[in-house]
């Protein structure tokens, strides 16, 4: 299992994936190995604690300075070397951009099939998974006939739960062979920029989102005010970004950011399946829409029917009136 880290330690999606991998490894009586690309710093005590809670037996860290800059082919080559050293039967990562890219390289190198965005394991013989297709609006049962079975796990498809028995992972530095050809496509520099906002959006506890109903680039004033009052982030539909009303990094959906906030307030968004794909994991969904039959309204937990340009300013006034 290739593990990703972020400012919280081990990334939540990686913990979810570890849980699914453990549920596969434990009954089979095989160990769970984690692979960390930590070339500059060793894993922190906190990270090792998190991995131990997931029942990880060994943590391989790639001690190879040439892997410091991200190069998918070289990282995949390192992962293949570890997988072969431990005779891995299953190779997994979370369905993040990095996880999917890494596993696609691994499966191409090993010439085996790969399943993207798996939500459940259906059976072991033959190895059968369920995965998300069409942005998550359809599920596919898929057979993975090759060995090792290679798949990514869809974000927030299963919950990260600790193992019954906490382990003390053995940290094993691993020095893979790196071919020059695998370093041709590597990050030459990283610039601070837009994606910082989309990271904030994807982690936001509250998202105020707006669609075509905003009516134009000037229709966002009260929506931004509400976003501010709720301490949240603004999200938008693809119509809004296509028309150039707001930047693309604010787009929620299948080809935009995926969010899972406690509260999603969808204003003037119809709820097309490709939009739904990006926000269906929200805990509470509130729809503000003129159309009581819009899919966003019928699938929401709460709705207010009417013109967002009347409702949102009234809500802002009410919040301020109550002294928040």
């Amino acid at each position: 299992m290739a593990v990703e880290t972020d400012e919280t330690g081990i990334a939540l999606t990686s913990l979810e994936t570890l849980t699914l991998a453990r549920e596969l490894a434990e009954p089979a009586g095989v160990p769970l190995h984690a692979l960390l690309f930590a070339t500059t710093e060793p894993p922190t005590e906190q990270m090792l604690g998190q991995l131990g809670e997931q029942g990880v037996a060994t943590v391989y860290i790639t001690a190879e300075p040439r892997l410091a800059a991200y190069a998918a082919a070289a990282w995949a080559s390192a992962a293949v070397q570890v997988a072969q050293a431990v005779s891995a039967r299953v190779v997994v990562a979370s369905g993040t951009p990095r996880g999917g890219e890494l596993l696609a390289h691994i499966s191409a190198r090993l010439d085996v099939a790969m399943a993207a965005n798996v939500t459940a394991i259906e059976g072991l013989a033959p190895f059968t998974v369920t995965r998300q297709v069409m942005g998550g609006s359809v599920l596919e049962e898929m057979r993975l006939a090759d060995s090792p079975a290679v798949f990514t796990v869809a974000g927030h498809a299963c919950e990260a739960t600790p193992a019954a028995a906490v382990s003390t992972p053995v940290v094993t530095p691993y020095r893979p062979t790196v071919e020059d050809a695998d370093l041709v496509a590597r990050v030459v520099r990283t610039e601070a920029g837009e994606q910082d906002h989309s990271a904030a959006l994807s982690a936001a506890r509250v998202v105020v989102a707006a669609g075509r109903g905003a009516n134009g680039p000037d229709g966002f004033k009260s929506l931004l005010e509400l976003t501010d009052l709720l301490g949240g982030a603004l999200g938008v539909s693809r119509v809004v970004t296509s028309l150039g009303w707001r930047p693309h990094h604010e787009q929620v959906g299948q080809t935009g950011v995926r969010v899972a906030p406690d509260l999603y307030v969808a204003c003037g968004i119809s709820g097309a399946i490709q939009h739904w794909a990006g926000m269906s994991s929200s805990k509470t969904i509130v729809a503000v829409n003129t159309d009581p039959d819009a899919p966003m309204v019928t699938r929401a937990h709460y709705a207010v029917i009417g013109d967002l340009h009347e409702i949102v300013p009234a809500v802002n006034d009410e919040i301020r009136r109550r002294g928040h």
Partner: protein
């Protein structure tokens, strides 16, 4: 001056609810339109821009003859030639599509010059396999950059930018190369009337792949359980504001 080939896939454009065919092996496309992924629309735009200084931009799709509709859409916005690789979608998996695309890349442009750059979407809108571009790169023995939003080609090098976990990541890769595109870096143009007329008349180069398909492992499709509507309508218009603010208070999202 570069020769660019962009790979697109015809997919059902279902925005409300999806229906499956009786054998549950496909999405029922009888009552929906067809489109390509927004990622691929951006790839087409990038291809047209990259070829604007005297290079060529071609487009290819592997699938049924109906994909001619999507190929013509690409021709209408400035792509110069189109290849249809006729194949049975249901029998093909991502490795098979990559193998079929590799044959087209290796054959080169209509006048026989090699393709310097192949663009694809990061993931197809229907199967979402997240791998055809990468498999194609391995089949061709070329470097690949995934999930980029912009490209710039000069002096035989493609420079790409795309969002990474710590910021915008820049790659500089010598051609020939493969690049997969994510929506967001460019605005796909709309076809002009002239463009449409030209596209309608253009000849589509139709080929048969010499790929023995390995398949895609599909056992069946299923729909996620539909949640019955449980929506609580808090009210209508501005009069519902207090009820909504009550909800925010109960949820504890109003911090102060």
């Amino acid at each position: 001056m570069v020769n660019v080939l962009v790979c697109i896939k015809r997919v059902p454009d279902t925005s409300e609810s999806v229906l499956l065919t009786d054998d549950a092996m496909a999405v029922d496309g009888r009552h929906v339109g067809y489109t390509v992924s927004p990622h691929e629309l951006c790839a087409v735009e990038l291809a047209v821009q990259a070829a604007a200084d005297g290079g060529t931009a071609g487009v290819v799709s592997v699938g049924s003859g109906d994909a001619v509709e999507q190929l013509r859409d690409a021709l209408a916005v400035g792509v110069q030639h189109a290849v249809l690789v006729e194949a049975d979608d249901a029998a093909f998996g991502p490795a098979d599509v990559a193998a079929a695309l590799a044959e087209v890349v290796e054959a080169g442009t209509p006048d026989g010059t090699p393709y310097d750059l192949v663009l694809l979407g990061n993931d197809a809108a229907d199967t979402g396999d997240f791998q055809v571009g990468i498999r194609l790169a391995y089949a061709l023995g070329r470097p690949v950059v995934s999930g980029v939003s912009t490209i710039a080609v000069s002096d035989g090098v493609v420079q790409t930018t795309g969002a990474g976990p710590a910021g915008t990541e820049v790659f500089e890769v010598p051609l020939p190369a493969v690049v997969t595109v994510m929506e967001g870096g460019v605005a796909p143009r709309y076809p002009s009337v002239m463009g449409r007329v030209k596209a309608k008349k253009a000849e589509i180069d139709t080929r048969t792949p010499s790929v023995t398909p390995r398949g895609n492992g599909r056992v069946r499709l299923k729909l996620p359980p539909e949640q019955p509507s449980q929506v609580v309508v808090l009210g209508e218009g501005a009069a519902a504001a207090p009820a909504l603010v009550d909800l925010f208070e109960t949820m504890g999202v109003l911090t102060k």
